[in-house]
């Protein structure tokens, strides 16, 4: 009897993945806020990540998600979304898995600068989350002519949206969302802009912003940041790119049963 109830629950959960537009809007908002919380937490945790501290438990497993809940409350002034949808549950599982994948690096005491920055987390998460069999994908996209990682190249829709966002009439922090159609079906696409804050400029700003050059004569300044990339000369609050999310509307997932 219990097995039948379990099977029914699994079937019902599976059916919940295909959804209408309103549900997709809500789901998209929740995915973006979970993703945003993770980015902010990883940014704030760079000192811990690169330290030789023995206890880094808060970067892994349930403790990691607990930290995201705190950040979410601070930033979005709302409770962390419940894992009541297979896609949200898969996102949280994927986040934990990405942190686990990088555990050896994060706990490596012989490497001072680990390079496990929010963009790396985002890229690895995107690879897992977008290949899990659900009609959903999320990725970081940069401005086409100023990419650090050429794999973050925007597609046509993203390029045109980022161009609009670079315009002087675009309100800062305002995202863009629309329904698009492809051979696979309809998708609700969202692009949330990201702007360069002061702390971003240490790697993405001008040569003068490069901490490696502090206290050195100008003619000896390095054009390379500590990650080995050329400084990009971005200015404070300039558009950096965005987080691009695509969620299928009424598309049944390849995944038939989940979580």
């Amino acid at each position: 009897m219990n097995a039948r109830i379990l099977l029914l629950l699994v079937l019902l959960t599976g059916n919940c993945v295909g959804q209408d537009l309103n549900q997709t809007h809500k789901l998209s908002d929740e995915i973006l806020s979970i993703f945003g919380s993770a980015q902010i937490y990883l940014f704030r945790s760079q000192t811990l990540i690169n330290s030789k501290a023995k206890n880094k438990d808060q970067l892994f497993g349930k403790a990691f998600i607990d930290q995201l809940k705190l950040i979410h409350q601070q930033i979005y002034h709302s409770p962390f979304p419940a894992a009541d949808h297979p896609i949200k549950a898969y996102l949280l599982n994927s986040m934990i898995a990405v942190m686990d994948d990088n555990k050896a690096l994060i706990l490596d005491k012989e490497i001072d600068f680990k390079g496990f920055i929010p963009a790396v987390f985002a890229f690895q998460l995107s690879q897992r989350f977008s290949n899990g069999g659900y009609p959903v994908s999320i990725k970081f996209v940069g401005l086409k002519d100023r990419l650090v990682n050429e794999l973050n190249v925007p597609d046509q829709w993203e390029t045109s949206t980022l161009t609009k966002m670079q315009g002087s009439h675009w309100r800062t922090n305002e995202g863009f969302r629309e329904v698009t159609a492809s051979k696979q079906g309809k998708y609700l696409r969202t692009l949330q802009p990201i702007y360069h804050k002061q702390q971003c400029l240490t790697c993405h700003g001008s040569i003068a912003d490069n901490p490696v050059n502090k206290g050195k004569a100008e003619n000896t300044w390095s054009t390379e940041n500590k990650a080995g990339f050329t400084m990009q000369n971005f200015k404070l609050n300039e558009l950096a790119g965005g987080v691009s999310l695509s969620v299928g509307i009424d598309i049944q997932p390849a995944v038939s049963n989940s979580n």
Partner: protein, 265 residues
């Protein structure tokens, strides 16, 4: 959230001596006795009735998750798959199949399951678990003092002498920019490749999955650190034959389990 079994370490079950092999040895032995000795028929019947149904899993050498040597088939994925099947009420029988023929064997219903499977969209197959069981991420491993954090900075590795296990296809970006790529052949090829870097005879090693080399339990952890090639991650599945009974597949799917990615070396 992650299932409880996700991080549970399953005790090593050597293929030559584990319950899988013993089940077959016992069955063969009873059969032999049945033919040659006057054993009462009822005792043979009782032994067979208690045996679990066996499922055949096709595998290829995929160290350290699957290692195929003269002494048999082993590795952490073999342990995990045995445990998953055991929990679902089946006995796992592993069969080594060349990499290029694994999918074909699954389609032809010569094996019930197949691991590792890269293509989950091929006709005539399905997957045991709906989601990928792991993600393979290729990358470069360096001695720790020479660690390169971001492989998108090509200039940091383009001139390095880089070795890789022969038979593995390096990612296009590596083949395009690194002109000192050297394949290593022979037995235990991954181990030899990494040890060449540790000894300083090469600067870097290309591996198909960095997490199997660079993890806290790895024997190489003290010496090397690895960076991934972004954008080349592949989802890996456990393939299932379409010939597998629906009830069997459902039972397997309801058994929560995953391949333990990390080596127990």
């Amino acid at each position: 959230m992650l299932s409880e079994t996700a991080n549970t370490k399953i005790p090593m079950r050597p293929p030559q001596t584990g319950p899988v092999s013993w089940g077959f040895v016992a069955a063969a032995w009873f059969l032999f006795l049945g033919l040659c000795l006057p054993v009462p028929f009822s005792s043979v019947q009782a032994a067979t009735a208690n045996d679990k149904t066996s499922l055949t899993i096709g595998v290829f050498d995929y160290p350290p998750l699957v290692t195929i040597t003269d002494s048999g088939i082993g590795g952490s994925a073999i342990e995990d798959l045995s445990a998953i099947l055991d929990e679902a009420g089946y006995v796992a029988t592993f069969r080594a199949i060349p990499r290029k023929r694994l999918l074909q064997s699954l389609v032809a219903n010569n094996v019930d399951l197949a691991f590792p499977l890269y293509n989950n969209n091929a006709e005539g197959i399905t997957t045991m678990l709906a989601e990928p069981v792991l993600f393979e991420t290729p990358g470069l491993c360096f001695r720790k003092e020479n660690f390169v954090q971001f492989l998108s900075t090509v200039k940091h590795w383009r001139n390095l002498t880089t070795v890789y296990p022969g038979g593995v296809e390096p990612v296009p970006i590596l083949k395009k920019y690194n002109k000192q790529l050297l394949p290593i052949y022979g037995e235990d090829v991954l181990d030899r490749t990494i040890k060449i870097v540790i000894s300083g005879r090469a600067d870097a090693a290309y591996v198909a999955n960095i997490f199997s080399v660079y993890n806290l339990n790895s024997q190489y952890y003290r010496h090397v650190a690895c960076s991934s090639f972004f954008g080349y991650t592949s989802p890996i599945y456990i393939g299932a034959s379409k010939g597998l009974a629906n009830g069997t597949l459902e039972r397997l799917r309801q058994t929560k389990g995953r391949i333990n990615l990390y080596s127990s070396d």
